[in-house]
Symmetry: C5
Amino acid sequence: MATNKKKQPSVKKKNSRARRKIGKAPGTITYLGKREKTASVLKVIEYDEQKLEEFETSDVDALASFRAGPCTSWIDVVGINDESFIEHLGKVFGLNPLLLEDAVNTEQRPKIDDYGDYLFGVFKMLYLDEQKNIVSEHVALVLFENTVILFQELEEDVFSGVRNRLRAKTGRIRARGADYLFFALIDSIIDHYFEILESINAKIEILEEEVYQDPTPEVAHRIQDLKKEVLKVRKWIFPMRELVGRLLDSESKLISKDTQPFLRDALDHCVEINESLQIYREMSMSLMEMYMSNMSNKMNEVMKVLTIMASIFIPLTFIAGIYGMNFKNMPELNTEYGYYVVWGLMIVLFIGMLFYFKRKQWL
Amino acid sequence: MATNKKKQPSVKKKNSRARRKIGKAPGTITYLGKREKTASVLKVIEYDEQKLEEFETSDVDALASFRAGPCTSWIDVVGINDESFIEHLGKVFGLNPLLLEDAVNTEQRPKIDDYGDYLFGVFKMLYLDEQKNIVSEHVALVLFENTVILFQELEEDVFSGVRNRLRAKTGRIRARGADYLFFALIDSIIDHYFEILESINAKIEILEEEVYQDPTPEVAHRIQDLKKEVLKVRKWIFPMRELVGRLLDSESKLISKDTQPFLRDALDHCVEINESLQIYREMSMSLMEMYMSNMSNKMNEVMKVLTIMASIFIPLTFIAGIYGMNFKNMPELNTEYGYYVVWGLMIVLFIGMLFYFKRKQWL
Amino acid sequence: MATNKKKQPSVKKKNSRARRKIGKAPGTITYLGKREKTASVLKVIEYDEQKLEEFETSDVDALASFRAGPCTSWIDVVGINDESFIEHLGKVFGLNPLLLEDAVNTEQRPKIDDYGDYLFGVFKMLYLDEQKNIVSEHVALVLFENTVILFQELEEDVFSGVRNRLRAKTGRIRARGADYLFFALIDSIIDHYFEILESINAKIEILEEEVYQDPTPEVAHRIQDLKKEVLKVRKWIFPMRELVGRLLDSESKLISKDTQPFLRDALDHCVEINESLQIYREMSMSLMEMYMSNMSNKMNEVMKVLTIMASIFIPLTFIAGIYGMNFKNMPELNTEYGYYVVWGLMIVLFIGMLFYFKRKQWL
Amino acid sequence: MATNKKKQPSVKKKNSRARRKIGKAPGTITYLGKREKTASVLKVIEYDEQKLEEFETSDVDALASFRAGPCTSWIDVVGINDESFIEHLGKVFGLNPLLLEDAVNTEQRPKIDDYGDYLFGVFKMLYLDEQKNIVSEHVALVLFENTVILFQELEEDVFSGVRNRLRAKTGRIRARGADYLFFALIDSIIDHYFEILESINAKIEILEEEVYQDPTPEVAHRIQDLKKEVLKVRKWIFPMRELVGRLLDSESKLISKDTQPFLRDALDHCVEINESLQIYREMSMSLMEMYMSNMSNKMNEVMKVLTIMASIFIPLTFIAGIYGMNFKNMPELNTEYGYYVVWGLMIVLFIGMLFYFKRKQWL
Amino acid sequence: MATNKKKQPSVKKKNSRARRKIGKAPGTITYLGKREKTASVLKVIEYDEQKLEEFETSDVDALASFRAGPCTSWIDVVGINDESFIEHLGKVFGLNPLLLEDAVNTEQRPKIDDYGDYLFGVFKMLYLDEQKNIVSEHVALVLFENTVILFQELEEDVFSGVRNRLRAKTGRIRARGADYLFFALIDSIIDHYFEILESINAKIEILEEEVYQDPTPEVAHRIQDLKKEVLKVRKWIFPMRELVGRLLDSESKLISKDTQPFLRDALDHCVEINESLQIYREMSMSLMEMYMSNMSNKMNEVMKVLTIMASIFIPLTFIAGIYGMNFKNMPELNTEYGYYVVWGLMIVLFIGMLFYFKRKQWL
């Protein structure tokens, strides 16, 4: 029942994609997420090595000058389901409509596109909520020479570390330009993937224990859920390696030489994450195998009990049945110790059987 | 029975391919579809930014001038089983016989060929009919500088969105040339693949629920059908990624620079579709695994019931059998409370067994 | 028994390969097939656009002039187990001994070698015999500028369509040179592969039905045979794609530009065939899985019958046993309606059990 | 229980990675290992062909001159959890902060980075402890023109062979520069991988025997543990092949031409190790399969015993039941030899059953 | 027991590798085989087109001049466990120590190294001993301009065919140089791989028959042994394809143009061998699957017998039990034909059951 409920919305959401998109021209800005329409808010951080200013606004036009301003600025667009607002923002900053379509398409696969004057990236940020469930949020980034625009659906994000380092004044991040900020945001997303990996790893270890101790059907179900979770996470994380690799190889003038070693470091992390995911996948497949083998063991146990009980008592019952027959002429019945002899015979049979099963190591 | 019927035609159709093709020269125009022979109809849309004209005709020669006309035109050839008509059309537009062979070969794998003066593509358009079954229709496209020729078997297609946008006058599509129309048609085909993916995903989720609740053999059969469906859909969709990729990399003069970003967008969709198909494939394999594990569980359940019943009552029956023997000398039989003692013994045994199975967690 | 017989020759044949080859110098012409030694016959078709001549001969020297004759000629060598004849033919046409070794090596993997003045190809032609079994025959082709030499073991082949088109005078094939003939022969081999695919597909569909209806061990055996057949066919067909691809990419002067689009078409077919084989392979693996799941179902059925019968009647038999005991003092036995009460109790138990199993959905 | 305990720390350790790293700037030196904070010790070996000097120090500044000294020196940093010490050392030798981060990151995947003036590598050294468990230790290497810096967590390592060869004076190692020392250390790590492979191989062979002799659930559990071990070892070892390959292809001026053949030799070993790991992986998967098949065999055995016992005695008990009925008019009961006839019948049935099961090869 | 014995030495041998190698400098000549130390013998064949001389010696220095002699010579070093002898030979012929290390390392993976003046190759020769077991022997080859040095452990080898062709005087081999001899030796090794493949194929066919006829646990064990054998053989044979391919692509001046077509032929064989191994691998995996399905069938058979016996006789026994009760008031007991009616009822039940199981196709 619960499973059923959990899945319904996901089906509905997916259905709506095809329904909302089919027949529309490419480049049409169509929000595909599940949130209700709310006003977008712009949170701006403007900084250079000396000063840092933070403010909120919803007036896009006031920000037009930032694109080529003297300071580095980070414009954080919170709320992307007001399609006309996004379109206006796109016009002010001279963004390609195809870019805007991807920026609000919450189903968009991770990608990085080089538009010459600006770089555009779509990522999935993954984090754990209080119930330790994996939450995935769509994030889009635009890198201009001096400005980074960040599109996100909700206020919660994985970037508080970056904000703190910016405010701290002492860090390297204040001294460097927008490209380093762009890297720092991606790096922050990748760092949180490790948290996801760890939560998957913990689940695998718990399931391993349970499969071994008590392989109920419910455990099999959770193993399958885990496998699906790994598949889903892989779908979101897997492209990162190639994206960061391509960013490194590209010769975009927007990425300075100083930022490249940091990107290489991020690439290393992506490679490691993908390898871990691969291992988790194999481990989750092993779990199912282990489950099946434990089921077999249990069945064997059950069968042994049945076989031992039946093999011991069916022959004994047969003997009792013999002397329960009503033939007139059954000499044994009239002997004085016949009854005790039969008891003796039965006890011998019983012990013989026990030995037999002992020797077969069924006991 | 029903399954049997459903499959017969597919066998017959396939057989006919080899039978109709073997021994013929390559380049022989041979319709391989299942439709009965009907006259082909040409539906023409001629447009530029100012005006749009729609008409139907079956006179090919009248269209010869369109190939290099001032407006953009879309010639939609509905019905491709009149081989002589297709041959004539090919001559009028100067098309290669090998192209025509592929255009009417409804078994043709998706492909894009560059003939220098024109581009040729074969695609599968997939959509859901009213019963939510996946329908696949063969589509062939020829792109000239100013004209797109579309070959299709039936009138139904996935291009109504494109037609509406053309008629709407305001859209980008009216302002751009035949290459954008060519892209828009391919994009429309790809967009409909998402609908197919969603229907597969929905089926997986329903089957997941059923495997968990009630794993009948019929469910196993439907899982296998799903796996075959995924294989078939993959066969049709999978080549698209490479085709669109090659189209992008090719330097055909027929594809203008303005259309390229749109093609890149379509390529992104193809990549995403292929990844989803891969995930669905793994999920459908997991379904079967889950089914087997649930079957094992059920078997275990059945065995436990049998074992508990047999283990409890066989020993009791044995005891009853003992005192059903007819020995003359059985002292217990003549005691006053022997019968009650035996009942007591049986009840103790019964309760003992229950405790034993309780401890084994079989109850 | 039958299976056993069928396999023996294949083992023997294989053994002989190693035995006949080991220790011989490379380039030694060694026939590896199973046919008894018979005289080779040369069937020649000489043609140009105007005239066509057909004759049989066994005099190789008379054909020496054909290699560079004014007409196109097709020399069909039927029977390749007379090693000295083949050697003589090789000398007359100036063929490399390694080529001749491959031409008569019926175990040779498909290959295409470019010897500069001539191209050499080895292929497997596959067709169905009357019993619908797949027959594989070794074929070797040499392409000179004006001549194609074809080596085959038996008269039966898949080239009757090509012969008919040659004789028909009107076809494109008469107007084109030896390279088109070379292509037409390969194309004919590839076309017949579709027939094989269809026969495999038909087998899969029959087995699918049988697995579902009646999964006997014999069906499992036939699934395994099918899997082996797919493996074997794949071994023969799979290399074709690469070979035709390489032929296209090579810049052999023997292949004219006009023939290239036809080769590209053949390549498309090879790609499609390989994809189908891949799908058939996955489907045959699914068959075995389905078989196992149906076996499990059957077992479950059997177990349920046993469990229901035993669970219902063992307790009833126990009750009957109780009142079959011979204790002197068993008050129930002497009551007037005791017997009917017991019957009542038994019927209640019986119905209760039925309800219990009904609720468990075992009935 | 034991398994449970063994796993707890690994979860904790992993958790800490994300917790310690998230929100920190890249390049922050963060020790991720499990050791408690202890002072780092520097063990220096300074040598040329004539002389060799060994000493311990903890004064980094004194070593600054070594980087470009006349002799070759090997600085072995034992203990890497004093982050400020590492930072100071980095400054003295002019090392990139990202390098230092990786040097103390005990979770770092094996890597080799070329920083121009120096090469940096991270490796896992694997060895067996006394209980034959696989121990993995993080090792980082920096190669300057005349100096190799080695970072390791503990004093134990796999480099005693290298130290002995250095002290021996006669070996090639004394005559060659720092690049050969760098190679010798990597080679020593790789050599120890063979020991690990052998221990895995031994485990596989023991498990094979046990699966065959006595497939208890505990054996299945150990097979799964083995599979996880192979996965883990593969994760650490697998990247080595690519790393050494890249080192060979790189044109770093730090690797002299004389050292290249030795690196090629090390690459060969890596290839061989990876192949062996692949084989072990397949063998460990076969083990599980074998286990399942043996479980099936056992189940079959159990079922046969039950079926034979039940099939023989249930019909006999039925016959005894017949003549235990109390009908007044049962003529057989009053015949003189009825009882013996029934015994005869039962013995015939018994023997018949035995023959039947013998013929079925169940006995 | 037997299996146990067979495996012990293999463990020991492997253990010794790590033990003997760890801590030694690379390039140290360390024999890793299992043979006891014996003197090495040099068997020399010196030949050109006119003359051929064969002799045995153990004096390496006398052969120094052969390296650049006027004739082609083949120096066959039999016995490689005298490490000092090998070292001396290496000095006389100017061989790299790393080469010598590989030449005596019987665990060395197949490889070909180009040392400029000479080519070096390590191969595994595989042949069947009298008991049809696969024997693998380590072989190393050095090709100088005029000389081939062959290192092998024992006198037995697969090269008798080459020797005979050399002695025969008429063959091509006498007319060609050392590079052709080098090729002929490799070709001879590859030719013997076919023998191995055939023996594996024969084993698969025997096992297939046995799995079908009589799937005992011993058969499962032999299937696993076969799988391991295929893995091992693949490990030795698989690298050959790449090695021969690289030899062809290399532009070593030691390989003349005339020898290249022969190498290409050898490459073809390698490709074919690898494909066959791949097929054998899949077939051996299918065997296990087939085994499991036959086990399931057998289980089903057993269960059916049990269920039929129990389902028929348990209800009948219950009826007999009813009329074995001792109630005073049981009217049926006193009727004249009650006994016969009960028999009639039982026979009807019996036949009904038989029909029921017949209809279920369990009989």
